[in-house]
């Protein structure tokens, strides 16, 4: 919430929010999947109530479906929620999207990083540009990295590419304003290898 406030108040253009527990599996009256409270939706509600900021575009690249975020934003046309989770769904108004992943992404032929990045780019970039959010939010889970609990065969290269995608979309769609919120992922070595260069990319013009 403080990170979102800082962006809204112009203290910085971008923010990276570490977390103590996850958020995107927490719905209106339930929680689970190691999530307690829905940090992203609480931040959006707070900005609406206190800053008059209305429109948000969320890219969720945690390995698992952001069911709590969807529960809390369903029927809200001012929130674009694109979840790269293996589901297949588009709401009638086009603002809630679950993106299928090809069977065999993990261990399949080809380059999982390139394939995932192509899917994320195709699902989010154009939609966000057309949506014109006030703030772009990247829900960044690294559990899809090779060897973590949501293993999709992805490597550091994919997550750095996702950071570049989120920054580019934020520049094009929301005046550069980007909030990155840490999601799933369990390994210390991956957190240490991934998070600093992602934050560094967020600082690049």
């Amino acid at each position: 919430m403080a990170a979102a406030e800082g962006i809204a108040d112009g203290a910085f253009e971008r923010a990276f929010a570490f977390i103590g527990a996850g958020g995107h599996h927490a719905g209106r009256d339930y929680f689970g999947g190691y999530c307690c409270y829905n940090d992203v939706v609480i931040a959006m509600a707070h900005l609406r109530a206190t800053r008059g900021i209305r429109r948000f575009a969320i890219l969720d690249t945690d390995a698992h479906h952001g069911d709590g975020t969807r529960d809390l934003t369903e029927g809200d046309p001012a929130v674009l929620h694109v979840c790269i989770c293996g589901g297949s769904y588009t709401s009638p108004d086009g603002t809630k999207v679950d993106v299928p992943l090809p069977a065999g992404l993990l261990g399949g032929a080809g380059d999982p990083d390139a394939l995932y990045l192509k899917i994320a780019e195709g699902a989010f970039a154009e939609r966000a540009r057309g949506f014109r959010p006030d703030l772009t939010v990247w829900y960044f889970g690294f559990d899809g990295h090779r060897g973590d609990y949501g293993d999709m065969g992805l490597s550091v290269r994919c997550f750095l590419g996702l950071a570049d995608l989120a920054c580019r979309v934020a520049d094009e769609a929301s005046g550069g304003r980007l909030l990155t919120v840490l999601g799933g992922g369990s390994r210390t070595d991956l957190a240490t290898a991934l998070i600093p260069p992602i934050i560094e990319r967020m600082g690049e013009a």
């Binding site: 910085f12 103590g20 996850g22 929680f31 369990s186 600082g203």
Partner: protein
Amino acid sequence: MKRVGIFYHKSFSRRSYLTVGRRLADFPGVLAPLLRQPAFRLLTCPEAPDEWILRVHDPTLIPAVEADPL
């Protein structure tokens, strides 16, 4: 360069994400090279008031989370 706020709390490294507990054990130390650049600021996450949580969640959720053994 863009200005970037980095929000962290030391409790996240002690018991961060409930699956393993210490995935952020190397933080904030590994951010030191970044923090030497003026574009990056490390800030402490304040506690979120219950009233913010209740803008989104049902009032039953807070005691349910507090009672969870995780």
